[in-house]
Each structure stands twice: as structure tokens, then as C-alpha cells.
Symmetry: C2
Subunit: 318 residues, 2 copies
């Protein structure tokens, strides 16, 4: 089966690289994934990774987003300021000159001033989500859980604010390297301990204006007191840290509360849904992944599609 | 020069062991220090460490405090509940049976319920400080900076409340293992960057009810934006975390504010003094170390001195 294809999109982060091949209408006709994040490139570096992940695909224009545009990436693309939308992000794209047969454009990340904050890649997911669900353009709070969780507010189709919370990284550090992880079973429990998680969420909630920094050690104290089993510690701690994100979010709510939309992998979104419920939020909408859609939208806003040559691709599996 | 000696005191923590030899009046006539914390004991374990650190000292009674009484220690001594003073702590001591020629007593730690918290060793320092400065008995907030900082409130000579904040451990984790420490000079700056530290303290203070969890990533963002040099990151982060301790403390102040007393090593106390000033506290009193005095007080309160045999020790250096 063949298709006319117009674009290749790359979601290129710290730990993985995903590639999408789009037909003339923006439908993904093929996709690939490799562990070639910018910190673990194959021999030959960025160019080799691009060639390999697009091998046997036509030489379409390529649009990339994520850490590939950071100081440690292929080309440092300057951040775009808030408020931002597909158009302003698209205008901030930079072209990489020496990339073999491909015409490669890298999207910028977003920057917030005072206090300083940055994102790279998540803005593309949000742009994708807004295209998938135009209803979200009015007023939505997007939550992208992960190593560095992002909370972004969209009003009238523009990203007007965002925050980064180092939840996933902090969780891993505390479990692997801190006293809180000492004496835990080396094999992680594969069953999610919802009760321990919710207890952690409530501990964060009940901390009021103090926050979890003064509550982290209680994980250890509860274990010593026999009030928390060692096997329940990881999910309690997960609840504590995710609960802290919601405690902070709640402080910022004023008047009408914007609906939440989660963008992330299902098991993580389940935790955030549970936490949202403990804080009295309506059950959030969930989008598994919107980066493919976001890359297409950015290419479109940049005018890269209208003048893009169509290629024939015959590897489409029906 | 000889002295009549009555007691040996051991401050036995996770990473070090200190021993004190006291005369009949509680004056320390000799002291020794080894890196034999409970996690790094010499061959032969606890008994060998005790024999070696007291070698050539008379076989006085021994009182020990700190992690030596924890589950990972020589003997797990049950926690004593709040409120606590020298008498209640002394009553909670346990005797170790098989310790060679010495009669060894280990002091308990303190426990707080709801939310759970524990300390081992710091209570002895506080008891020592209260004996060194009886004025502090009325109403003082003791701050013991460290891996796990302790904030303890003393009213009418009793410890009525305390909290643990994992400041030192968190700092080390973030610098060594997180994205915030990536790209920093491998050789730490030996000059304290007071300006960066105070900036971090104010970032914590200005976070209001949100706290530093949502501000940690700003360390990275400021560095990327060129607003914070890599070499200033460690002291900024130190200010952020120590500032968080004071932000939380401030939330608990009601009406008359108890004077602060710091117990810890001078360079760390300097940081806490600076942070206290940013939060409008009067300059704290500083006690470098009070564990020797605390051990003596506990032995006294336990009645271990009145019936203790005096030994002659001739190794006193004038």
C-alpha cells in the first residue's frame, strides 16, 4: 500500500527519539522509536541517528522538537517567550544546515521570566492537544507528569503560564540515594498500592502552607514506628510528591477553576487522576501522547507544508 | 598530671564516634574522635570500637547517645515521647550486657507522633545546651543544622516539639545526582558566595505558601538564562533549602517569637545566621557542640554518677 507523504516529525528528548511519517493530510502512516535520546546517541551522533531512524523513508522535510534544540542538543534554538501559541513557536524555529539529505527544522522551547523557568518538547504536546481537542483552547490547565512535571495554563488558545516541578527526578533520587529508600525491598512492588499513595497525597494536602519538604522525613519515621511497611514506602512517597504538585496548584486557583487535562502515559496519569480527586478537582481528561499532532501543527504554522514536495511512500501497512 | 575520673561519654552517630573522659565534677579531661560511625565500624564491631577508643582510660561507667541506640546500632533503645527532659530521657536508658569490662548505658532518642518524627543524639545536645545556658530553659527554639536538620522547641526546661527537615541530605542529592548539579565545576568553590546564598534564601521566602519544591528547577532555568553562574549554583541551592526551613518556621511563629539557638559547626551556623536575619529573626546564639555536656547531664539524671566509682587517670595534659 502506498501513500503520498509530506513530512517527518521527530520528538527528540533526553532519553528517546521518536519519528513520525505523515501523509498529505497529517495522518501518521509510519512511526519508529529508538533509545537515542540526546544523551545516548548512536555512533555518528545526531546525523547518524536521523539517517537511521528515517532509513527507507522518503527525504521529506523534517520538524523536530524537544531537547534536541537545547544547549546539549544538535543546535541551540533560542527560547520563545510567553504568551505563546503555534504561530509564535513556529516563528522561533531554526534550520539545521548540515544534516545530509534532509531539510531539518528544530522547534524552540518556551521560557518564563521571574521566576525563571523553561520547557522543551512539552509545548509541542500542548499544541497537539489543542488541535486534537479544540475545546481546550478556551481555558485549560495542562499537566504533563514526568521527570520534570510541567503545569501549563492555556487561555484563548495561548500558553500564558507554566511551572516545572521536579517530581519524577526527586522521587528517583529519594528512593535510590536517600535514607528514605534504605532498607526497602530491592525488587519493586509491581502492584500499585493505592492506599499508601492516597495517604501520601493527604499528607501533602494536610501540610497546609508548609509543604512536603518538612514532611519527607516522616516517611522514615512512619516506617520506624511500624505505621508504614517498607513495601508501601515507594507509593507513599509518590503520593507525597504528586500531592505536593496539587497542593501548590490549589494555591493558585482563584475563582473559576480551569479543567485539568493530563498528557502522559496511562499508569502515571492514573496517579495524577487519583491525586486530583483528593484535592476536589473534577476527573481530568487524559491524552496519552500528542507530540505527533503537535509537530504537524508546528510545521503547518511555519508554512513548511504548503510548499513541501509530496513523496511517494510504499511501506504503509494497512 | 592525674585526675579522679568518674565517667566516659560516647557521642556515637552514623559517621563518627567521639569519646569523652570526665573528672569527678564533669570536666572533660580527655577526648578522642574516630570515623567509626555505626555504618563504618572497625573489625570486631561495636565492642572493638569501644575498647579501642577507651584504651588506656580507666574502666569507668559509659553513657552513649546517638544512632548507636537505633535499630542499626548496638542495641535498639525504645524512643521516649514528648514532652521530654533530662530525667525522662535518663529513665529511658538501656544497659548493654555484653560489652567487656565496661558498664555501658545507651540513651534513647525522642519520638513525636502525628505526624511521626524521630531524633537520636540531638536530644543530648539540647540537654547539654540547657545546662550550659540555663536561660534557654524558659523558651528557646533550638536549630541543629545537618544532614537531617532538627528544629526543637524548649519551654520550661522541656522539649515539647521538634521537626526534621532533610536539608543537608537533599542538598547533597541535588548537587551530586540531579540535573541541578549537571555542568557544575567538579572542584567546589572554597569561597562562600554569600550573595548567591542570600538570593536563594529570598527565593524561598518569596515563594509564600508554595515553598521551594516548585522553585528547585528555577536553579537550572536561571543558569540556562545566564542569570546565575555555574559556580554560584551550590550556594544558591544551599540558600534555597535553608531558606525553606525558615519559611516553614515562620509559619509556626505565633505571637512572641522564641529566641533561636544554633547548635552546630561554625561554617554551617554562619549560613543559618544569615538566613535567620533575612527572615527578620534576631541573630541566633551559637553553641558549637554540647554533646559532652549533654552526656554528663544524662548520666547525672540517671543516678549513674552518685554511685559511680572514682578511678585515677594520669594521662591528663595540663
Amino acid at each position: 500500500m502506498t501513500a503520498d507523504v509530506r513530512l517527518i516529525g521527530l520528538d527528540w528528548g533526553t532519553s528517546s527519539l521518536r519519528a513520525y511519517l505523515y501523509d498529505a493530510d497529517g495522518t501518521v502512516v509510519a512511526s519508529r522509536r529508538q533509545a537515542w535520546g540526546i544523551r545516548q546517541l548512536p555512533e555518528g551522533g545526531f546525523t547518524a541517528a536521523l539517517q537511521a531512524i528515517t532509513s527507507e523513508w522518503p527525504a521529506c522535510r523534517v520538524v523536530a522538537a524537544g531537547m534536541v534544540g537545547s544547549r546539549q542538543g544538535w543546535l541551540e534554538v533560542p527560547y520563545v517567550d510567553l504568551p505563546a501559541d503555534a504561530t509564535s513557536i513556529a516563528h522561533g524555529m531554526s534550520r539545521v544546515d548540515a544534516c545530509g539529505s534532509h531539510e531539518l527544522w528544530i522547534a524552540p522551547g518556551l521560557r518564563r521570566n521571574a521566576p525563571a523557568d523553561v520547557m522543551r518538547g512539552e509545548e509541542t504536546q500542548i499544541i497537539g492537544a489543542l488541535a486534537l481537542q479544540p475545546l481546550y483552547q478556551a481555558n485549560t490547565r495542562f499537566v504533563l507528569p514526568g521527570t520534570h512535571s510541567k503545569w501549563a495554563t492555556v487561555v484563548d488558545g495561548r500558553i500564558i503560564a507554566f511551572d516545572t516541578v521536579m517530581t519524577g527526578e526527586m522521587y528517583a533520587l529519594l528512593i535510590k540515594h536517600s535514607i528514605l529508600g534504605a532498607g526497602l525491598p530491592t525488587e519493586p512492588a509491581h502492584v500499585f498500592d493505592e492506599k499508601a499513595f492516597v495517604r501520601g497525597v493527604h499528607t501533602a494536602k494536610d501540610s497546609g502552607g508548609e509543604g512536603v519538604f518538612s514532611r519527607l522525613f516522616s516517611t522514615r519515621a512512619l516506617m520506624l514506628a511500624g505505621e508504614l511497611t517498607a513495601v508501601a514506602v515507594p507509593d507513599f512517597l509518590s503520593g507525597l510528591l504528586i500531592g505536593e504538585e496539587f497542593r501548590i496548584a490549589r494555591l493558585r486557583d482563584d475563582g473559576a477553576i480551569a479543567p485539568l487535562c493530563l498528557i502522559g502515559e496511562p499508569s502515571l496519569c492514573r496517579r495524577y487522576t487519583l491525586a486530583a480527586q483528593q484535592f476536589g478537582y473534577a476527573t481530568p481528561a487524559i491524552i496519552d501522547d500528542a507530540s505527533a499532532q503537535g509537530l504537524w501543527q508546528l510545521a503547518s504554522a511555519a508554512g513548511l507544508l504548503t510548499e513541501a514536495k509530496l513523496h511517494t511512500y510504499s511501506g504503509v501497512t494497512p
